[in-house]
């Protein structure tokens, strides 16, 4: 299954569910809800954190966190 980390800049996806329960509540609070559209806006250099557009604002997270966000096919 595709994760958010596999998307390139400007690519979009729809959140399906999360592979890490602990992390999922934090992400849900920040508006990463299942069924919501996310778009990668830009990324920090050297494989650093990424910035995504979700629920109408920009959120940054590391690649590891992005890997826990699974997208609909």
């Amino acid at each position: 299954m595709k994760s958010l980390a596999s998307l390139g800049i400007n690519e979009k996806g729809i959140i399906k569910h999360f592979s890490d329960e602990q992390l999922s509540v934090k992400l849900i609070e920040m508006g990463c809800l299942p069924g919501t559209e996310v778009q990668i806006s830009f990324a920090a250099p050297f494989n650093g954190p990424i910035a995504i557009k979700v629920s109408g604002y920009h959120l940054s997270l590391r690649k590891e966190e992005a890997e826990c966000i699974l997208l609909e096919d």
């Binding site: 602990q22 934090k26 849900i28 920040m30 494989n47 954190p49």
Partner: protein, 703 residues
Amino acid sequence: MSAKQELNIALVGNPNSGKSTLFNLLTGLNQKTGNFPGVTVDKKSGSFTTADGRIIRVTDLPGTYSIYPKTLDEQIVQEVFLDQSHPNHPDIAVVVADATNLKRNLLLFTQVKDLGIPCVLVLNMIDIAHQRELKIDLRGLSIDLGVKVIATNSHSGVGVKALKEILSKPLVASKKPFYDIQSLAPDTISQIQQNFNLQENYRAYQYAQQTERLTFLDEAEKEKIREIKSKNQFDNIPAQSQETIGRYQLISDIIDHNIIKPNEDQGRSISQRIDKVVTHKVFGYFIFFALLILIFQSIFAWAEGPMDFIEGGISQFGSWVKSSLPSGVLNDLLTDGIIAGLAGVLVFIPQIAILFAFISLLEESGYMSRAVFLMDKIMRKFGLNGKSVVPLISGMACAIPAIMATRNIDSWKDRLITIFVTPFMSCSARLPVYTILIGLVVPETHVGGIFNTQGLVLMGLYLLGFLAAIFSAIGMKYLLKVKERSYFIMELPDYKLPQWKNVLLTIYMKCRTFTVEAGKVIIAISIILWVLASYGSGNQFNNAEEIVKAENPTLSQDEYEIVLNSHLLEHSYAGQFGKAIEPLIRPLGYDWKIGIALITSFAAREVFVGTMSTIYSIGAEDDDETTIRERLRQEVDPKTGAPMYTMELGFSLMVFYAFAMQCMSTLAIVYRETKGWKWPMLQMTYMTAVAYLSALLTYNIFS
């Protein structure tokens, strides 16, 4: 109208919602910083008076995204709302929401509302929402959310008057909860409600969710809750997910009803264009380091004038006091002890003001979170976190606010490492020590026609501190075994123009806190030092006059005074302490006089200069650096007859001060932040060891 004259109001909202600006608009200069009882979370509180003369107390709670805390600062929000006997438990909660991003901002609002606390919802930054052509139906929102809604513009202050008016009238909490939590865990909730006599379902549910975190419940009460939870198979995380998703569904519906969005978002695309440059792999780092250099330069260049002015002013004031009061012990204590000590504090105000001006500009504009974003990957290589950038930069002014700024780091390991290494960053208190020693042992020449050698040495010392911080962090990364998942989820707020009022207020509040906090310590130390250096015991001290006269029969009156003073100091209590540690510091090239300065400057590094001037018996009138420097230059090593302050001694001392934990206040703050003596003691031992060994090495390399 209630009989109570004072009304407690809490401002609560997401980070970047403009909450602090609103707080400043409500209270003006009528505010103070303190601590919440029992914890060291900065509490900003203030007050305003209503038209009918009632005083309304306003507390600005730390920004948070939900009632579930992720950091220490956020925990206070939950504590204040859940503990009904908390001294800051509000009568009314003013929930501040960013009108341009209502969906996420409303989550916290619905949680606070369901706790049964009377609420007002403020849609802040309404001007920006209008700019982006968002059409918000305030009446509709108010009806759907069951709360009074006020739109404010934090730039112009429009809406603040209306808010004050609403707050001056009695407000009742709506009985109907926004989200029906009861169906999520019916038995757990009703049993906790019965046991703890709680009215609101959501409050009981929060008792179940936050059992371990709530400090106002005792162990027996927590045990009771645990029992109820396990009996009903209450599982925290799935319940929280379900609750949050449920709340968001209701919020989404309400937003869809009441807000019409244009298709293309103008303001946001500007932010995005700036971000493309600011987070670029070349320009991004270039901008970041250019900003650091700019801050660094201004702290030195712009602060110099005001610092000289303050120093000169206080020294004149000191001489005036000395000459206008009758001479005697009290006069000496006042001028040589207290006023001299006070000068040591006040002189740092310009540097602190400049540093905090920059920090608050960077935070207000939204740049700081980009710096964190940009640096995260690099910082992680050193066992730190992107969020360590802020404390490390602040550490160049003072480790105390810097260590307090680590609270934003959610991972305990990352936070601990940041706390541990931040005091290595060269703070402004090291500056006077460096200044006087560099002037003493580094010749003022130019390298390559541009760089001043003295300036280069100073830069080198700052670099040394930074490297010590980074390498210690790497070491700790491997030594600390903590099984905790580090994560990094951070909002990147849209860029906005900083508001000078907020910046000025920050500077004012920070300087005031610094003066009061550091002032207390330094004045106390100055008095103790003065007493220890003025009194002593034993024959050498008590019969000093006869002994000096007998040893130096040919001296003039002036010379005699100087010799007598240094003889008295050598045999005073302070002198005895210095002599006691002399064998230990001799390998570094130091004598007992420097020993005294090392002991006293343990309280705070800048005390070094004051102590040296006291020790070298320089009167209060000419208590400026040149004369101390001159006096130090003339000092002769009694063993060799050569000048005492050689290059090797100077560098050895500078290196010692670059690394040593010579700051009581830092130790105290680390104790508070890590809740125990283990870390501050380890930190002090480690830093002193690094300082001692490096100074030993330096002394031997240069000699």
